[in-house]
């Protein structure tokens, strides 16, 4: 039984088969990357896994539980966190508030205790703050703690999103194009962080990425998609040299 498995997953938007019979398994502690040209269905798979979309067919099994029908807000508590391709931070809140929100799945307070801010709520808040500070230290975000997201540069926002995902204490991390919009140096940092997340924190990573140097640096296995269908799966080198994959990207 693998850690996370996608079995024959499909979704149709009207007549368009955005994802069509995709099957793969991710082992515990693995970095698994999905690549493919624009519109191949990579982000759609992420939205299916984080349950924003309901698949028209197939099954998702995470850590022994079937999550095909779990509502989206329960996903974080199960241990799946994600980042977004176009950065979905809470812009008019501080970085700290953003990260604290990621602890939402672990909250133990109810509305009434929060209304009167009972000592138990304060203790829980301090606990959450400690967890958040760990992520801040891990990703070197100390100086931005009290900044509003709207005032932060793009590169920092990208890292903040990663930090927010880590704050949920995930077992499986979905990274949707972690290097998009980053410069070469920032991309290198990102590669080191992804490796650290895997080796130091023991988190399994499922990633969508276009930058092949980042993909080959960190991934154990790669799945190539086109028009929602799988083309090839294997090590980064194997997939990169696969004739079908080259044809999908370059045509001919």
């Amino acid at each position: 039984m693998s850690f996370f498995s996608v079995d024959n997953l499909s979704i149709n938007f009207g007549g368009i088969k955005a994802v069509d019979g995709v099957t793969f398994d991710v082992g515990k502690g693995e970095v698994f990357t999905i690549i493919g040209p624009n519109g191949a269905g990579k982000t759609t798979i992420f939205n299916l896994v984080s349950r924003i979309y309901q698949p028209t067919g197939g099954k998702l099994v995470f850590d022994g539980t079937d999550i095909t029908n779990v509502p989206p807000h329960r996903i974080a508590a199960l241990g799946i966190a994600r980042t977004f391709q176009n950065i979905e931070l809470f812009e008019h809140a501080t970085l700290l508030q953003n990260l604290l929100l990621a602890r939402h799945a672990h909250k133990k307070s109810n509305f009434l205790s929060e209304l009167f801010f009972l000592p138990s709520v304060r203790a829980m808040e301090l606990e959450h703050r400690e967890a958040v500070e760990k992520a801040i230290d891990f990703l070197d975000l100390q100086q931005y703690r009290d900044s509003f997201i709207v005032n932060l540069p793009y590169g920092v926002r990208k890292v903040t999103e990663l930090a927010r995902a880590l704050c949920t204490d995930p077992k499986l991390l979905l990274l949707d194009e972690p290097s998009s919009g980053l410069n070469v140096e920032e991309t290198e940092d990102m590669a080191f962080w992804i490796q650290d997340i895997r080796t130091l924190l023991g988190i399994t990573v499922l990633m969508v990425e276009h930058d092949m140097s980042l993909v080959s640096a960190v991934s154990d296995r790669v799945l190539a998609l086109n028009y929602g269908r799988p083309l090839a799966m294997g090590t980064p080198g194997e997939v990169q040299s696969h004739p079908e994959v080259i044809r999908a990207y370059l045509g001919g």
Partner: protein, 380 residues
Amino acid sequence: MRFQFKTSYNQDIRLFKDRVDASWYGLLAVAVLALPLLMSDYYVGEATWVFIYAICGVSLMVLVGYTGLISLGHAAFLGIGAYAHAYFLEHGIPWVVSVVLAVALTTASGLVVGLPALRMTGIYLAIATLAFSVIIQEVFSRWESVTHGFAGMPVDKPVIFGVPFQDEASFYYLCLFFLVIVLWLTRNLLRSPTGRAWIAIRDSEIAAQSMGVNLAIYKSIAFAYSAALMGMAGALFAHKIAYLAPDIFTILLSIQFLLLVIVGGLGSLHGAVFGAIFVALLPPLIAILRDSIPASMNDAAAAMNIKVLAIVGEGIGNFLRKPGVEAGIFGLILVLVILLEPLGMYGRWVKIRVFFSTFPMYRGATFKRQKSYMRSERLR
């Protein structure tokens, strides 16, 4: 320039940032408590309106400023609270119980109105809440056995545990007490997971959901809590206005509440109070000016022997006496605020404070915001 040295996580949780901050609020508390001793009953009454409007402001701030949902029907919640409270009092229910029941009733109606909010946003939600407010207003005028319709419903001064609140000053303190409680409770929610969930829903629903926020539950809580505060304000409103009639709770009042939170500054509790000061005090200010401007200009004209001044003064007075001037001035200020200071009065206040606290190092671009990056709209 003052630098805050943080040594404990509690410093980011507690109500006041530091001693200096706390002593400013202490000073404000002293000033507010002393006001009835220094001012005439008329001004104490106007200040009471500020407190009632501030509770309404906090209510709408939670919904519009923090959760990002709009409501054009909040006057209806105010009305439900006011009529329910008046009705219960009329039937001999003790004051405290009556307020609790009125708040419970508005909370329930807030939950019901919140249901469509789970599926609607923006203009559609505005129209749905507008429809609700029109329906409720119709109920107020037709359900005569409870509301006495257009004949009106008199409301006595409050008597709590046998203690009468007859004069302006005692009612002033009662409203102040409720405002402080409301501010405290709301601040508590805002610094705990519920408040953060509201902010998350406002800024990105999809990310909020992926972080474990149940959108349906937290939107419902926002609507219910907002309605509850409105119900409490309604109970005080009923005493203050002393005579309830259906045509008080119109769409114009709802718009005035919306104006309150926008002019005050969306996304801050300070904004709700600033906005309340503005909305509650502008009409009496206009009333004072329309008599005092012609009078003082007339005096000045007589003293300096310039006839034109008296004519100009008379003109201004006549203009301010025209019907609809008040609404016009409100509208003009709303337009100017949205154009010139989107963060409202509170935003302007923060800018002034930062200017002085960093003087002479203030940079003009401190509050310049970058343009937002592209965001995925297709998931909404």
